[in-house]
């Protein structure tokens, strides 16, 4: 169960970290007038974080237990 707990904490941290990355003050780090492939840095950054969250969630979910085969006595808090 400890592996499962760690995984749940990981999902939580991932979501919180994702949220922190898209709000100030962290976004300021990437808000400079620089172009990547002709696109402003901040746009590339925000879409990059977004894509990372999609992929990361997909990977983490893969390891989370299914509702159908989990025992009913789990703790989620």
């Amino acid at each position: 169960m400890t592996a499962r707990r760690k995984l749940e904490s990981g999902v939580f941290v991932f979501a919180v970290f994702g949220a922190l990355l898209i709000i100030p003050p962290l976004v300021y780090i990437f808000n400079h007038p620089i172009l990547f492939f002709g696109i402003p840095q901040i746009v590339v950054y925000l879409f990059g974080v977004w894509a990372m969250m999609v992929i990361g969630t997909g990977i983490l979910t893969h390891y989370l237990p299914h509702a159908s085969d989990e025992d009913s006595h789990e703790g989620d808090e």
Binding site: G18, A19, I23, V27, I39, V54, L64, H66, A67, G75
Partner: protein, 899 residues
């Protein structure tokens, strides 16, 4: 070339296609439990009902006006779905366990199945969603007008038709369509598989359309991302924003995250229509991916539109007007259909969700309370339910239309944000309901209400600013001139973006009232049960709470109710299954509490938990139980309670008695050991003189050469020893008699001073023997105390003789003083002897205690002080050892003076 007539016909055909899709979708899922329509992909696509025409048209407009800000609307939900394991999974599990039918049902069910809370939430949801529906009407109207104005003669039959009339036609068509679509039946769990299938289809259409327009504009017209950005920069459009990440950015992210949970239509799709909890696993990443795809081309379209479109063109319609202006009818038509799709899917799901709430929580409870369920024909309740839902849909779209025609021509995004902020008021109560057991109904209701009022004042009202003069007056100078209450400067909070201002105040006060209200109020039993069922939904096995007493309703009564709500077929199936499980004939089925709560859940799936509870309560508890029976039941309960209270009281008394007995026992043991000690000490004391008497008499009995002198001395010793023995025995007798209170005397007024003088006189011989004298200190005059003169004299003699006997100083002296202080006669007898060591001080009044230095030749048995203390105590006085004027010991006697 597109014409208005053509797109209207296209729209109608498209709606017909949706209807067919929904119809066959419904049939397909009914016939086939594992239909692909129940797949995670369809579930995810249906969640994207979140992307309305606000996304399709409005996001580009928002990007054109405020740059990157439009992204917050999609980043908030992304965060919520990334963390799906925590909130969404819990909501879905609770939704399944409690057969939740709507967000109002969720909150009502969590907070003790409160009907009032459900009504409050429903009303707020209806008012809050009204701007959102208006937004869709506005977008469809604007898109048709855009087509109509795109070319000469494109107006067709719309000549002379203004926005209002067009919007009214659209609203009416939508109402009709939604009624046909969503209220064909009252389903088991309020699930609409056909509708979901159609919504999923629309999700594909709008994504495909937006991507097609995006690719066309970006690569076909703009020549790729790079050249669009370069072109925009060349045209003087700021592509580097100074600072979009202010409080507004955070507020919008929070709002959109709240909205994906709290919007009635999102709740309907994500929780109520969820067929399998595991579908969330896919939605967790696929829905954010969908949002990402929907947003990829927003900024390029906006920038390109601003670069090439004429000044004053509505950026909200760039998605449609860019292809139109290039003469690309095909792509323009696709864009129109995409926009139409996003608007219709929102209107359909939102009005279905709202109509369920209105009918379950407002109309049904009124009917249930005012009439008897048992009356009417068999299909009564179902028909009523459907009718009330149809009427609700009509009302909701009418409200949307009214809002549209009343408010000014704003951009799309700000209208949507008004709705977001309205429904976000549910968020504190939902989160507290999921994670905080103590959250109580009163707190939730007051929090939501206060949040709603603040929202209505600071956000909803200002949206009428341009059309109602008094609103702009209020915003300018406050109501009745109270500047403190100006809607956008509430409580003197100025210099804040109006959206941030409203979100801050409403959510802050909402949460404050929720928390304080919960802390100061008590939860009812049902509320506590529901709170535990919600908070610990993953911890416990599915349990049936004992909502109703068995035995007060027959299976027939229950069947009667079930048939009316669920329909004949489902009711029969339910009862037959239950009978089979129990192994009895359906007609012999006994309604157990478990069965009743199962039935309640089934009913809740159709009419909401509060209504189901009321309905069953009528049948199970109210309908068939007479007042007398109720009173009797209450009486019996009362008796049981009293009996148990009495038992509790008795057992408490027993505990006290047992403790007293224990104490008494310990005391007895203590006394017993004291007695043993006393006896052994007495034996020891008696033994010494006896031994000497015996040995001397043995010598005397021997015939021998004892001369007369010796004989005389021996006999005198024997005499002395027997005197000492007698004195000892007398003292023992005296003490034990005093202790038992036997040797009593009548206290009478006596002159204490006289007794003291007498004692000094008696001791005179002893003093002379030692060559000592009594030194008198201060002396009181004749003082009367209540006591016995001889006994008092005995006490003084004892004290003085002790002072003499134990004094080994070179110039021994005794100092006696007496005085009257504070109504007390105080005598002090002090000496300059060795004093009494600290360790001995607490023992001196014990029996047989003798001063160590005094040795054994003093002739005392060590009972003198014990006896003296007893005597003084009987005269209501005290005898104690005090620090005295001389180096040695000082005893003080205090006796109350008689006036």
């Amino acid at each position: 070339m597109l014409s208005a007539d053509f797109v209207i016909v296209t729209a109608i055909v498209y709606v017909g296609l949706l209807f067919i899709l929904a119809y066959f979708g419904d049939r397909h899922t009914r016939a086939n439990k594992s239909s692909f329509l129940r797949s995670p992909a369809v579930y995810t696509l249906s969640i994207s009902v979140y992307c309305t025409s606000w996304t399709f048209y409005g996001a580009v407009g928002n990007a054109a006006r405020s740059g990157l800000e439009f992204l917050t609307i999609y980043l908030g939900p992304t965060i919520v779905f990334v963390g799906w394991w925590f909130i969404l999974r819990k909501l879905v599990r609770i939704g399944r366990m409690q057969a939740i039918t709507s967000i109002a049902d969720l909150l009502s069910s969590r907070y003790g199945k409160s009907s009032r809370l459900a009504v409050l939430v429903t009303l707020i949801a209806v008012i809050g969603i009204t701007p959102y529906i208006a937004l869709q009407l506005k977008a469809i109207t604007a898109s048709i007008q855009a087509v109509a104005e795109s070319a000469e003669g494109a107006r067709g039959s719309l000549v002379g038709v203004d926005d209002g009339a067009l919007a009214f036609g659209i609203a009416a068509g939508m109402a009709l369509f939604t009624i046909l679509f969503g209220t064909r039946n009252v389903d088991a769990k309020e699930q609409h598989h056909g509708v979901v299938a159609a919504i999923a289809f629309e999700a594909v259409v709008k994504l495909a359309a937006l991507l097609a327009v995006g690719v066309f504009v970006t690569f076909g017209l703009g020549g790729g991302f790079e050249s669009i950005y370069r072109g925009a920069e060349a045209a003087g459009i700021a592509i580097y924003e100074d600072d979009p990440f202010g409080p507004r950015w955070v507020a919008m992210t929070v709002l959109s995250a709240a909205a994906i949970i709290c919007l009635p239509r999102q709740f309907q799709i994500t929780v109520v229509e969820n067929a399998n909890e595991d579908h969330l696993r896919v939605a967790g990443w696929a829905f954010p991916a969908y949002l990402l795809l929907m947003s990829v081309f927003t900024l390029p379209i906006a920038l390109y539109g601003m670069t090439v479109m004429p000044e004053g063109a509505n950026p909200d319609m760039f998605v449609l007007t860019l292809p139109l202006s290039e003469g690309q009818s095909g792509i323009a038509l696709l864009a129109f259909i995409g926009g139409f799709s996003s608007a219709t899917s929102m209107i359909i799901v939102a009005s279905i969700a709202l109509s369920i709430m209105v009918s379950n929580h407002i109309i049904m409870p009124i009917i249930l309370r005012s009439s008897n369920v048992g009356q009417g024909d068999g299909q009564g309740v179902r028909r009523l339910l459907l009718l009330s839902r149809r009427v609700s849909i009509g009302v909701i779209l009418t409200l949307g239309f009214l809002y549209f025609s009343l408010t000014g021509d704003d951009a799309l995004a700000p209208i949507g944000l008004i709705s977001f902020a309205g429904v976000a008021q549910f968020l504190p109560a939902i989160l507290a309901g999921l994670y905080w057991r103590e959250a109580a109904q009163r707190g939730a209701a007051s929090g939501i209400f206060v949040g709603f009022v603040i929202w209505a004042w600071t956000m909803f009202l200002p949206s009428f600013e341009t059309v109602l003069p008094w609103v702009s007056d209020v915003m300018e100078s406050g109501p009745w001139g109270i500047g403190f209450l100006r809607p956008q400067n509430l409580f003197g909070l100025n210099d804040l973006d109006p959206l941030v201002h409203s979100v801050f105040w409403s959510l802050l006060l909402n949460s404050v009232f929720l928390v304080i209200g919960s802390l100061v109020s008590n939860q009812s039993a049902l509320e506590r049960i529901q709170a535990a069922a919600f908070v610990d939904v993953f911890r416990r096995r599915p349990f049936a709470h004992r909502g109703f007493m068995p035995g007060s309703a027959t299976a027939n009564d229950l069947y009667f109710v079930a048939e009316r709500v669920l329909g004949e077929k489902r009711a029969a199936t339910l009862f037959e299954t239950a009978a089979q499980e129990r192994g009895v004939e359906p007609s012999m089925l006994e309604p157990t509490p478990e069965f009743i709560s199962r039935l309640e859940r089934e009913l809740a799936g159709s009419i909401g938990s509060a209504s189901a509870h009321v309905m069953l309560a009528k049948v199970v508890a109210g309908g068939d139980v007479s007042l007398e029976e109720m009173m009797q039941m209450a009486d019996e309960t009362q008796q049981v309670i009293e009996y148990s209270q009495e038992l509790e009281r008795t057992s408490a008394e027993l505990r006290v008695t047992a403790r007293k007995l224990e104490d008494a026992n310990a005391q007895l043991r203590e006394l017993d050991s004291q007695k043993d000690e006393f006896l052994s000490q007495v034996s020891h004391e008696v033994r010494t003189p006896m031994t000497s008497i015996r040995s001397f008499s043995e010598i005397l009995m021997e015939p021998g050469e004892l001369n007369d002198g010796q004989r005389q001395r021996f006999i005198s010793t024997i005499h002395n020893e027997s005197l000492r023995l007698t004195r000892l025995l007398d003292e023992i007798l005296d003490l034990s008699a005093l202790e038992r209170g036997e040797r009593s005397w009548q206290n009478a007024p006596v002159d204490a001073e006289e007794a003291l003088d007498r004692a000094v006189a008696v001791c005179d011989a002893l003093l002379r023997q030692r060559g000592m004298r009594v030194e008198f200190g201060e002396r009181a005059h004749t003082t009367m105390v209540d006591g016995d003169s001889d006994r008092l004299c005995q006490v003084f003699i004892n004290l003085i003789s002790n002072a003499v006997k134990y004094n080994d100083a070179d110039h021994p002296m005794v100092r006696v003083s007496s005085a009257v202080r504070a109504g007390q006669f105080v005598v002090e007898v002090a000496d300059n002897g060795p004093g009494i060591s600290k360790t001995d001080r607490k023992h001196i009044f014990e029996k047989f205690w003798r001063g160590v230095e005094g040795g054994g030749d003093q002739g005392g048995a060590g009972l003198g002080l014990a006896i003296s203390r007893q005597i003084v105590a009987r005269m209501n006085g005290t005898l104690e050892l005090v620090p005295g004027p001389l180096p040695g010991a000082c005893f003080r006697v205090r006796l109350p003076v008689i006036k």
